[in-house]
């Protein structure tokens, strides 16, 4: 068998007919990530600040969508993991101000993953509305803790003025100016590898195949030898860990942590962001986050009632572009291609 055939006959390959779709998807991925990386060279500083927020929100939405798209589980309390990571990082830094950044992030993400392992045991036992209600309860609980446990979390004041000092390999860089391109790129340097790893895992490996098989028909998967509980639990842990990366980076970008990061309404926002961008594509939620931040910024400058308009726009998307904006772009692109194909005939 030739090398090219070997490369094509992998687990995530959906057969030769669809492999062109897979190629287009990969191209779109590269384009999106390249745009995010070079963006600071041609946008204003305040936009860079927004972008930093957007990519963190985007990774958070991707982590939500890991459960929604690949396991068919709708979490109503995903901010618990995002917020937990943000607070955990702040507390770690309070105890060890000199902790090198990579260790800080790894420690934060690891503790969030362990939290995911503990809570996931309970959550993935049930699916559908039961799963959503369990996650909602967990979300409410974590918000209450952040709000009430003032001695540790600072209550409504939150925790501020924390700044990783020790960037290890980048001694001349500093995070003292949130919103600069330096901070943004530093965030991307952690965010993109984390997201790419999850993408590769779910879209290109037998593991991703297993996760999708369990979602597609849990009963049959079990009788074919899949440990369906274990598969869903592992995906839950990965989702929590990614939410942890997002929360950790968001805290670094902001320089403070508040109850906003565990608020139930933030758990709702992330659902809107993911569906806005399109939950059918791994990177759709990232697109959704960039648009969400851009639009909510413009709208909030125009009217104090911006959330009403955003809500209406969301309903419009759900009704008229159920696959989100990424899905909309894809179907327009496909129509252009077929029309061109017809002209060529």
């Amino acid at each position: 068998m030739s090398q090219t055939l070997l490369a094509r006959t992998t687990a995530a390959d959906r057969g030769p007919r669809l492999s062109s779709a897979k190629r287009a998807e990969t191209a779109a991925t590269v384009l999106l990530l390249a745009l995010l990386i070079v963006a600071p060279t041609f946008v204003s500083r305040s936009t860079v600040n927004d972008l930093g927020q957007a990519v963190c929100l985007g990774l958070f939405a991707i982590s939500f969508n890991l459960l929604f798209k690949y396991s068919g589980l709708l979490s109503f309390g995903h901010a618990a993991f995002f917020g937990f990571a943000a607070y955990a990082e702040a507390l770690l830094l309070q105890s060890w101000p000199g902790l090198p950044l990579p260790l800080l992030v790894v420690g934060t993400v690891l503790s969030t993953a362990i939290l995911g392992l503990l809570l996931g045991q309970v959550c993935v036992r049930r699916s559908g509305a039961y799963f959503s209600m369990t996650t909602l309860t967990i979300g409410a609980f974590f918000y209450a803790v952040a709000f009430k446990w003032q001695g540790v979390t600072g209550g409504t004041d939150g925790l501020d003025s924390f700044m990783p000092q020790n960037l290890l390999l980048l001694p001349r860089w500093s995070l003292d100016n949130p919103g600069t391109a330096q901070t943004y790129w530093l965030i991307l340097a952690i965010l993109i590898p984390a997201a790419l790893a999850a993408w590769a895992l779910l879209e290109w490996t037998p593991w991703g195949n297993a996760v999708v098989a369990v979602r597609s028909n849990e009963k049959r998967a079990a009788f074919l030898g899949y440990d369906t509980h274990g598969v869903k639990l592992a995906n839950f842990v990965l989702s929590a860990a990614l939410a942890g990366v997002a929360g950790a980076l968001w805290a670094i970008d902001n320089g403070f942590v508040s109850t906003d990061s565990v608020d139930l309404s933030f758990s709702t926002t992330v659902i809107i962001v993911a569906l806005l961008g399109g939950s059918g594509w791994f990177w759709g939620p990232m697109v959704g986050a960039v648009i969400y931040i851009a639009v909510s910024d413009r709208l909030s400058a125009l009217t104090p009632h911006w959330q009403i308009f955003l809500g209406l726009a969301f309903v419009g998307i759900v009704l008229f572009a159920p696959r989100g904006l990424a899905g909309l772009v894809q179907s327009i692109w496909q129509r252009v291609l077929t029309r061109r194909g017809r002209q060529n005939v």
Binding site: A11, P206, W207, A213, A221, A222
Partner: protein, 251 residues
């Protein structure tokens, strides 16, 4: 040294809210034996299959597989030790292609299903096996078709292919000929006669042609109890069986 039975059921009982469904069911399948399990609708055949494969726990009694007590084992563990089953009501990966369905079965069977990387060298042979498994049941031309768009007969064959692809020691089939045409049923008999090899078979089926063609022995279940057990000739001559089952079939 006598060989342990591949499957041994000891005093299985099961009730649902509506009352007892299985009572004191004993069943032993020798290695390589092909056993037909027949009985009227509602006799408890599917329930018994669920108890054998792990979908349901019995209220009392035990299930042994190759001498090992597996009564409390989950379905996936029973599959991994060599029990494969099909479903009376088709249960496939409907929105996936035939290729992807077989891949799900084979990746798992080869223990590659949780590989977190693309091991091209290890995965390439799987693709060959997928193609062979499809060819075996005459689905070689529709590898790329979405399963829920296929005709029912093809879906039935895919169901069997998923089971056979994993080379289980015990094959449990729940009405594999249900809904098939006469020609399709003959194809199914051919397929099973050529592909089963020395695997042990437990076959639940209403079509007596299929049962007689494939079974070494037949067990008759009626109202959750074993009514009779014997060779196909003995069963077709048994007056009790003729009355409750075969008679009903002829009516």
């Amino acid at each position: 040294m006598s060989e342990l039975p591949t499957l041994h059921l000891s005093r299985i009982a099961k009730s649902f809210g509506s009352g007892p469904v299985l009572q004191d069911v004993n069943l032993s399948l020798q290695s390589g034996e092909r056993r037909g399990l027949i009985g009227p609708n509602g006799a408890g055949k599917t329930t018994l299959i669920n108890i054998i494969t792990g979908g349901l726990a019995p209220d009392s009694g035990d299930v042994f597989f190759q001498g090992q007590r597996i009564t409390g084992l989950s379905p996936y563990r029973r599959n991994r030790i060599g029990i494969g089953r099909s479903f009376q009501i088709l249960s496939l990966f409907g929105e996936m292609t035939v290729r992807e369905n077989l891949r799900n079965a084979l990746l798992r069977h080869r223990g590659l299903h949780v590989l977190p990387w693309r091991a091209a060298a290890r995965l390439a042979p799987i693709e060959d096996e997928v193609a062979q498994a499809a060819e075996l049941v005459g689905l070689g031309d529709v590898l790329k078709a979405r399963v829920d768009t296929l005709p029912y007969g093809m879906q039935r064959r895919l169901d069997i292919a998923l089971v056979l692809a994993q080379e289980p020691a015990l094959v449990v089939l729940d009405e594999p000929a249900a809904g098939l045409s006469g020609a399709e049923t003959r194809d199914l008999i051919d397929l099973l006669q050529t592909r089963l090899g020395d695997r042990t078979l437990l076959l639940v089926e209403h079509d007596m042609d299929v049962v007689y063609s494939l079974s070494d022995r037949i067990t008759v279940l009626d109202y959750g109890r074993v009514l009779a057990e014997g060779s196909p000739a003995e069963i077709s001559a048994n007056s009790d069986v003729r009355r409750v089952y075969l008679g009903e079939d002829a009516a």
